[in-house]
Symmetry: C2
Subunit: 341 residues, 2 copies
DNA sequence: ATGAAAGCGCTAACAC
DNA sequence: GTGTTAGCGCTTTCAT
């Protein structure tokens, strides 16, 4: 099982030089005859030498790996948003020859070993996530991929300009006749939820509109179950709701069904929109308006900033916000004249 | 930037014991007074000690991380199949407190450091993938998540029983009137492609059916571009095609559009099915029949086997095949009587 | 230009 | 029961 690995010592012996020389020859550093260098290179090649990353890391304090904190892999991968974020990070990591470590994360249990990574990306930090807090406190270079909820240790953040995006969505729906909006969004444990709540409240006040905000569990496949009664009771309690804003594609799909079951029709007497776009929205019936949060770009930007910091010491800005784009589809078509408040 | 980390030496000094004692106290091994043990534990707690995984790994030869080889992260994450696979692996890794390393993989360049993982999962090995071959040869415990294409170094495999599944799909379509099937599937670089090709050929021979097999690029979002002319020309060259089998959801969606553009109607004069199911198939119009390859289960099974091997030395079977389920939907409804060959 | 040697933080074998 | 020590494979001074 344990294969005897070829070490640098083996290479040095094979090449007839000392350990230190072999090391420098391969790393390309320092002063050296081209002759010895190629000699060592050939020996390494011949033996199939591959440096032991652990030993190197122990010595240098660098691992050439970045960590991606994942709170609950199974649920998170259900979201296109998260998948795209990971893809963006992975893309950039590969490009810079960094490994990507999905940091295992049972939220209840503290880590007993420190993660063997040079830097960490923390997508969608949650206030209740013990491990995330641990990572924030660890002193390892870190960038949060979305704003931090209140109460968490500070950190550089790269996030989305939800303020502008949500306002634009609300404006769009308002123009189409919506006067009684409901926002189903992540709760205050997430920075996303906090921002959306605030923007929504402010917008409603400014437009003298009586909006309803209902914190909902984080968007994923389970929304189908959890959201069921939430949306159902909403629609029966507030029969005049004419705009339902849900977190993402799973909720949108569920909402579409629930709205139909409530005897209402999206595109005629009620609108539906999602805060995070996904391909699924294009094929739903009707297609669902959403905010394109450019998660792949966001992930890539986080990784880019982190790696640049690690490789060149570049300082990461305290807060960077990327714009989001409103993608309008049939689900927010103007209400029929006889359905307007 | 580089934070002075707390080492085991610090803990030992704080607790007033020696290094070795501190180590054993924390790892819970061997003989020891409860008193000293708690003494050390408390000191570690007080100092916020976190073991250095690198040093431990160097010493023990174990890292408690498994590697997942990803050929092209961006493309792969487009597929529900792959995402689910990763989610399954991640789930099990977390459960056993293993970290999951997405092994960065520029296929053209050899790795210069050996991956710091105890074992490797190789989903969908491709014959052309230099890094995959390298990993197979590395001697690191490995399990392939799908059968290996011919010519690759041997390895334990956990895959899907595509033989039974595809035959079942073909039988189903045959019963619904299909007599002129086309299989668009991965090419011979992938084990999946090879199996599908063989099964398809055998089935066609047995049923005296004139099937067409066209190797296609691996299923992902780019199918929309690549598959366009492929499907288009197929439909014009062979106007009597009455069953189109595509790799996955992206191809299915594209095919639906292309078939419509060719003036034909799925569910009436032509059938459509996919080799790998996805949620998208449920919401397409019409919903698309597909084989549920249970990718999450497959990923989990791979991880389970690998970790059991690493933790307990359990031998991994040479080949394990998981069953796939045929999920029939409207896209393979019986052909209208006047459209049958 | 090259060799020798120290030491990164940890575990395990061996003294006491 | 606990302390001492060697050494995992590597990089990096410091001599030569």
């Amino acid at each position: 099982m344990a294969v005897r690995r070829v070490t640098l010592g083996d290479v040095a012996r094979e090449a007839g030089v000392s350990l230190g020389t072999a090391s420098e020859a391969l790393s390309g550093s320092g002063r050296m005859t081209e002759t010895t260098r190629t000699l060592v290179r050939e020996a390494a090649q011949r033996l199939g030498y591959r440096a032991n990353a652990l030993a190197r890391g122990l010595r240098t304090g660098r691992t050439r790996a970045i960590g991606l904190h994942v709170l609950n892999a199974a649920d998170n991968f259900d979201n296109e948003y998260f998948r795209e974020f990971v893809a963006g990070v992975a893309d950039v990591a590969v490009e810079h020859d960094y490994d990507l470590n999905l940091l295992s994360s049972n939220p209840d249990r503290r880590r007993v070993v420190s993660p063997q990574v040079d830097g960490i990306i923390l997508p969608d930090p949650l206030a209740t996530d013990v491990r995330a807090i641990e990572l924030l406190d660890s002193g390892i270079p870190l960038v949060a991929g979305e704003r931090l909820p209140p109460g968490m240790p500070a950190s550089p953040v790269i996030g989305i300009d939800h303020e502008t995006a949500l306002a634009r969505l609300l404006d769009h729906a308002y123009a189409a006749g919506a006067r009684r909006p409901v926002l189903l969004a992540a709760d205050e444990q997430s920075g996303w939820g906090v921002v959306l709540r605030d923007v929504f409240a402010r917008w409603c006040a400014e437009h003298d509109v009586d909006g309803i905000h209902t914190p909902s569990p984080f968007e994923n496949g389970r929304f189908l179950v959890v959201g069921e009664e939430m949306v159902g009771s909403l629609l029966t309690r507030h029969v005049d709701v004419d705009l339902l804003i849900v977190p993402g594609e799973h909720a949108a799909r569920a909402a579409l069904r629930l709205i139909a079951e409530a005897g209402r029709r999206v595109g005629r007497d009620i609108m539906l929109a999602a805060c995070a776009d996904a391909h699924l929205h294009e094929v739903l019936d009707p297609p669902v308006t959403a905010l394109n949060l450019t998660p792949r770009l966001l992930g890539a930007t986080c990784a880019e900033a982190l790696i640049r910091h690690l490789d060149h010491g570049t300082v990461i800005e305290e807060v960077t916000l990327l714009p989001a784009e409103l993608v309008t589809r049939a689900s927010t078509a103007p209400l029929a004249a006889d359905c307007r408040l």
